[in-house]
Symmetry: C2
Subunit: 353 residues, 2 copies
DNA sequence: ACTTATAATAAAACCGGTTTCAAAAAAAGC
DNA sequence: GCTTTTTTTGAAACCGGTTTTATTATAAGT
């Protein structure tokens, strides 16, 4: 089975050793512990390395040093702009530190998450960023056994205090959003939530409750709906809000921008004027929200920072073994960005037909 | 340097061999050439493998068989929705075939492209999907030397006939778009192009020219602008179109939807009514374009198919060595989707102030 | 029954590096 | 100048698999 055509394979450490007249151990040292080899030999070996344009095979290297230089990033769907910009900045910092990223989409399905996690362990990735666990997710337990560093970003599991993460202060965000609506005179405020059993949804809801309670307003069951963190989800539940009859809310706090935009779609379709008849506020501040024809008032989180910080954090955990056991938990502040979709409540009695 | 705490490391092929009372060669055969090992031993070994939950180390495996099971995907920016949905479906088919994807963003910079390509070669990826080469890009030449399969998707280099690719019929798309505007009575039609030296831009422009020539309309220099394939690009050049004075076009064919939406932004800002005063048509049909408040008329390409087909194609090239040298070139048909942003031209003389 | 072909397995070499250990060379000490 | 310490280097073992080659057991042929 000789290879056809004398294909010149990559130059290996043996080639270099032979050509430089040293052992391969020495070549390896020149690359990894240059101070341990004599000036003259080092130069000679280096010259050959340069001339032959030698680069060590990362696979072989990984096999012995047990570091692959790749990290796994698990999100539910990269075509969701939130994750897209997050992953973008993760990739950016990884590149700067010579790490590669394996991109994994789970579609929010636990089986896929399990599959990817065990598969990434098998592939010996150096670390994993988990971007969309459910509150009850257990799949990451295997990472603890395998002793592979991992962090959560944006969404957290139960017992968050035991893990590393970077996220935004969601309850504060929910509080800010709701307070803002209250400040505009609204009292009938709905919560349009995303996938229920996620920390981000629950935290934001927490903030919503807190603000209402402080204002002495009781939470009404009919005013809290939940669906999926997507435009379609927002549209579907949005229709139900719109058609909720003579007790319709005057404002809606949406758990994320995608849902808010879905709701806006529903409003446009049913000729409900925003913000005159219905105020809507979102969460995330995805690029889309700034668009002229949308101008969604929202609670902004710096998605890019989220990505950059989590990239930085996982690399830190990988390289600083000492820090491995020191919990790192960063929570970013949310910020209200006022645009066009919220207005002072009109008639005190509410504006229903 | 003994490892602290008796950490139980992954079970290796040696463990299995010992426990089953065979040589590691036999274990390997059980996994890779089961027919070459006797029924009884096979069963015995398999039992041990199951019981110990053994999975071969992919790194070690890759080292000898020279297949890593990962493919590189190079795009300019994953946060661009076009690439996001494309990569999404690439990842999906890869997962189905047990391949992993390395995600690489180049921001359209040739240095980054070069860096990634050589770096991916070094890492021994099995194949590469190039999602955003410039027409004059040469960086992929190294892939030919390294004999790593690669295909282009969406954007092509010069000499396209020599390479494998999957893309949409861009000149047909440009032709369709322009014909549609012509059919609405427009004669002053501008071309708002993206990054100039890309095949998609040039092809779409080609289609534009063809349609105009057929209609006996001369191409006017002032009517062809080019910027970047982004909202900002569309906005910036869009302003110039809007302010182009008494010879303003009545319709604009935008090289992609992002630019079209940027142009729409500019129109909204400058109070140019679309489609009454200006018709605009885009290209791509990204999810955003269907939004109620946008409803962009556009030339649709199935971005997901683009991704799925290219994923399929690269895997095919990797696994079917025979097919390696048979060029595969698939070009998908574009489709006009009429929404809201184009109208019959108003006053024959044009509607300028 | 005795070679001969064939199937099943083990031993060894290899993939391309790193690392331990021991030997050789150079520097230091007296 | 000779022993002792320190540097510098090479040989060998290892990482965890696959593959070639050699060996042994079994089946087939005459």
């Amino acid at each position: 089975m000789k290879r056809r055509r004398m294909k010149k394979d990559k130059v290996t450490i043996n080639d270099i050793a032979k050509e430089a007249g040293v052992s391969k151990a020495t070549v390896s040292r020149v690359l990894n512990n240059p101070e341990k080899v004599a000036e003259t030999t080092r130069k000679r070996v280096l010259e050959v390395i340069q001339r032959r344009n030698y680069r060590p095979n990362p696979l072989a290297r990984a096999l012995t040093v047990r570091k692959t230089g790749v990290i796994g990033v698990i999100v539910s769907d990269i075509s969701n702009p939130f994750y897209a910009v997050m992953v973008r900045s993760i990739e950016e910092v990884c590149r700067a530190y010579a790490y590669y990223v394996f991109l994994c989409n789970t579609d929010g399905r636990e089986e896929e998450e399990e599959f990817y996690i065990s598969s990434l362990i098998e592939r010996r990735v150096d670390g994993i960023i988990l971007g969309s666990v459910d509150l009850e997710s257990k799949s990451f337990k295997r990472l603890e056994e395998a002793e592979i560093p991992f962090i959560f970003v944006s969404r957290l599991p139960r017992d968050r205090e035991k893990y590393d993460y970077v996220m935004i202060d969601n309850v504060l965000g929910g509080y800010i959003a709701t307070r803002y609506l209250l400040s505009l005179g609204h009292t009938r405020i709905a919560y349009l939530g995303g996938r229920w059993n996620t920390s981000s949804n629950l935290d934001r809801f927490e903030g919503y409750k807190k603000a209402l309670q402080e204002a002495g307003i009781e939470i009404q069951k009919e005013y809290v709906l939940c669906g999926e963190f997507s435009m379609e989800g927002g549209y579907r539940e949005g229709l139900r809000i719109i058609e909720s009859g003579n007790n319709r809310p005057t404002a809606v706090f949406c758990a994320n921008d995608a849902m808010a935009i879905g709701l806006l779609e529903a409003c446009r379709e049913r000729k409900v004027r925003v913000p005159e008849e219905l105020s809507v506020i979102g969460f995330d501040d995805i690029p889309l929200s700034a668009l002229g024809c949308i101008q969604l008032t929202t609670v902004s989180q710096s998605i890019a920072s989220l990505g950059a910080l989590s990239g930085k954090m996982i690399i830190d955990k990988i390289t600083n073994v000492e820090k491995r056991n020191a919990k790192q938990q960063v929570v970013l502040p949310p910020k209200l960005v006022v645009r066009r979709t919220c207005a002072r409540v009109s008639g005190e009695g509410g504006g229903n037909p």
